[in-house]
């Protein structure tokens, strides 16, 4: 199976990294890989929200935005 590389930013801990995922990996696969509960985030690509079953593409830039209230 081929691999894809995805740039991922997580707003809650202010991190940016590139992750290697299996070809055909979904948003849910990405969240599982970085141990994030999907209930606690929304996910965007090119400033558009995408759902957990959306397939990712090579070189996608993904933002993971926390839904947790700040205080």
């Amino acid at each position: 199976m081929g691999k894809i590389n995805v740039k991922v930013s997580v707003d809650r801990n202010n991190t940016n990294k590139t992750l290697e995922l299996d070809n055909e990996a979904s948003v849910m696969d990405l969240l599982k890989k970085i141990n994030i509960n999907p209930v606690t985030v929304i996910v965007s690509r090119n400033n558009e929200l995408i759902l957990e079953d959306e397939k990712l593409n090579d070189k996608d830039e993904i933002k993971i935005l926390s839904v947790i209230s700040g205080g």
Binding site: D11, N37, V39, L51
Partner: protein, 313 residues
Amino acid sequence: MNCCSEKPVIQLPAGEKLCKNHFTDYFESKVFKTIRQFELLDKEENLGVALSGGKDSLTVLHILNRLSQQNPKIKINAIAIDEGIHNYRDKTLEKAKEFCHENNIKLNIFSYKEEFGLTLDEMLKILDVKPCTVCGIFRRYLLNKKSRELKLTKLATGHNLDDECQSIMMNQMKNNIEGSARLGPKVGLLQHKDFVQRIKPLYLCTEKEVTTYAFVNGLLDEFNECPNVPQSFRAQVRDMLNDFENKFPGTKYSIVNSFLQTLPLLKKQFKNDAIKVCVKCSEPSANDVCNACIYLEKLKINIEAKENGFTQC
């Protein structure tokens, strides 16, 4: 199942996937239904909206401001409390000011420093207490006092379904049933002339729904978490509930819906608990001296002790 051919922005717990426009309609309908179902607003209101600058309070202000534009008998004022939390509240207040300026909404800001003489950060250097406990006491105290002084008829807050669910579980875990009796879309047990009724229009909206609405309507700013939150009991209950929600979708709705069925009984049980007036500040209180005055006294004693070279707790 998708609502239409447009790209979905959210999947509801029941499985339906909604696009931006259908979700916006769904969300706003849910808020207006909540307002009608729980009779949160009268036909005429001088309504306050507690504004922190975070996504929840901006969302409730955005929707209520639109309601006000359609119905001029509902007047809107925003009220913000600056607790004095360095590198947090200063940032969210900037967003609050920007939103109110752009939408021509009057924003009233009151600070701990001006009202109590100390910021929260300064208080926490003096008192050995849980930050959220003391912060919540002073914030609710100021919101009620200033709302009354501004002659607001009600005060809307951005509390959502997740917040309510956490409060219900926290009260259960601490055997604080009277605390639960004060919860609900309309806060408190009794009406009192000095108590401005607080209401929660986002009561049935999950945190994920609120964030999605804020995102698609341009209200979501960069993530900004209060530095005191991660150490709180609430944060641990929140994480536990989110784990359950992930494994068993709909858990949070079930907890709040079952709570709503017991709420009338709880309110009835505690309805005879009279609201007193604090002997020190004359604000409404459950006891002879309100919690704000108790903590102000503790601060005073600790400051005096430090000045005299003693250590208090």
